[in-house]
Amino acid sequence: MKEITANKYNNSFFSVVSALLSGLKLTFKHFLGATKRREPTYVDDKNYFNQTDGLVTLTYPYESIPVPDVGRYRLHNEIDDCIVCDLCAKICPVNCIEIEAIKATEDIGITSDGTKKRLYAGVFNIDMAKCCFCGLCTAVCPTDCLTMTKVYDFPEEDVKNIIYHFSDLTPEQAKEKQALYDKQQAENAAAKAAALAAKQQGSK
């Protein structure tokens, strides 16, 4: 059976002193290396993994490591291309997207990929404080108007400002459009009623 000794280290005076000195040597080497700094380079830089010594602190607001151009951080909605289909709001696992669609009275144009727009976005709000950055909304978006951007530093002093409003209509305009639609509906209903009445009269 192997003998178990209480002391597995060499505790002789000189080995302890040399251990202590090598500790001091190590810290002093780092102290001397303080003239060098790690460069905030992008991950595909040749030197990215070779910068083994020097200070590693990144003075963040003044310098930052570049993020990929296709970074998936803050959401952005290109409202001109949005058909207000509500798919993003439905798939969102944290319900951070709020959409109120208003039906248009006529065609309001086409998106850049040729889809017809028939709905106004009365309200298109994304609460970035709730967003969990899963990216599901961008996956389901049929016109690819909802995208994630490389912006990751967007703190706000007022929590209200963290809700992003993407609608291109002011509330007054939205009300107007709603009124127009309601009026058209009413006119249609009246016309229908009139047509029905005329039909009934004709059949008598």
């Binding site: 202590l20 810290t27 102290f31 303080a34 590693v56 602190t57 003075t59």
Partner: protein, 375 residues
């Protein structure tokens, strides 16, 4: 009488201001050195390279509310920081700054210094007990136990120097360690031999430099120096002997209940103590304000870097060498703190009572023998 009093008060004010400046520089250096050792940047925001950081910290502490716990012993609590700081400050009174400037040229210099700095312990107990907080009491007990223990090897190391130099006057000890020795009243006929040994017959009185430092005059004092330096770390409660502080159990030790100005006073005392023990090490072992450069033949390095006794040049060179040597030791203290893990209480006491005290006792004996060979 009145005139003397006013002079003393002005000197005291200057001394405290100067000390505050040094402490501010040391705290800044501590943070920067710690950062560099750990590959960080340290303070960068307050002023260029963060040089105003410590000043801002002092300003912040002075603005803070002065809280005295309801259950504290108010008198003890209030006077403890003052006593602790006063004890350390009083120690500076006998440190020779230059060949002609010493606050108090007392004959019993080093004896007074050891005695007055020991008062610190009473202040620590007052602070710990007065806080009426079990953690503060435990921290104070640890701190005091450690300081009292380590005063013995430190005192014995100092004693071996005193036996070599045959004086308690720190200014006389300083003069003995350099080329200015013959100009000190009472030392005109003294001769410094290499390694202090008359039998070797190499007269280095006019060579000066490091050859007349105490650690060379009696080479075994190097061991005494190392032991004194380590003991002084324990006396300042510095890492690796900082067991009075323990974030997970005692929080900050005896000063856990202090805030604002009183905390600032304790902090100041702690860093002043660091500076004081470094100065004492330099004066006793590393040639005090004497230049480290020796005269080599016609290259009078020691003469050139010593200046004239009593003139501006002598004072400036003296202060420069003393402060440079002390800075090196201060850097070493900081360097050690950020390198080593700390000792356990039993290891701490083991090191003191079973290793340092026997060695220093032997050194005292050896110093006595060496002195016989020196004359």
């Amino acid at each position: 009488m009145y005139q003397e009093f006013m002079t003393a008060m002005i000197a005291l004010t200057l001394c405290i201001a100067f000390l505050l400046l040094i402490v501010i520089v040391v705290t800044y250096a501590e943070r920067k050195v710690a950062a560099f050792i750990q590959d960080r940047l340290g303070p960068t925001e307050a002023g260029p390279h963060g040089i105003l950081q410590s000043l801002m910290d002092v300003a912040k502490l002075l603005q803070k509310e002065d809280i005295i716990p309801a259950a504290a012993d108010k008198k003890l609590f209030a006077y403890a920081p003052i006593l602790i700081f006063a004890a350390v400050l009083a120690g500076f009174a006998v440190i020779p700054v230059t060949p002609s400037v010493i606050p108090s040229g007392a004959y019993i210099g080093i004896f007074y210094l050891l005695a007055i700095v020991s008062l610190d312990v009473i202040g620590l107990i007052m602070a710990g007990w007065g806080s009426n907080n079990k953690y503060a009491v435990l921290g104070a007990m640890r701190s005091v136990g450690q300081i009292v223990s380590y005063e013995i090897p430190a005192g014995l190391a100092v004693l071996s120097v005193v036996m070599i130099c045959q004086t308690l006057d720190l200014q006389e000890i300083s003069f003995q360690q350099g080329i200015l020795m013959p100009q000190f009243a009472g030392l005109e006929k003294e001769v410094n031999y290499l390694f202090g040994l008359k039998a070797l017959g190499i007269n280095v009185t006019n060579v000066g430099g490091f050859t007349t430092w105490n650690i060379v005059r009696m080479p075994f004092l190097t061991i005494a120096f190392i032991i004194y330096f380590i003991s002084s770390l324990a006396e300042c409660n510095r890492a690796p002997f900082d067991i009075p502080e323990a974030e997970s159990e005692l929080v900050a030790g005896f000063h856990v209940e202090y805030s604002g100005f009183r905390f600032a006073a304790l902090f100041l005392a702690e860093y002043s103590m660091m500076v004081l023990v470094c100065l004492v090490s330099v004066v006793l072992f590393l040639g005090s304000w004497n230049t480290p450069l020796p005269n080599i033949g016609s290259v009078r390095l020691a003469d050139w870097t010593t200046g004239t006794l009593g003139a501006w040049s002598g004072n400036l060179w003296g202060a420069f060498w003393l402060l440079s040597k002390a800075s090196v030791l201060l850097y070493t203290q900081i360097w050690i703190r950020w390198t080593y893990p700390r000792l356990r209480v039993d290891q701490l006491m083991h090191l003191c009572w079973k290793i340092f005290i026997p060695i220093t006792l032997g050194l005292v004996l050896l110093a006595g023998l060496w002195r016989l060979w020196m004359i």
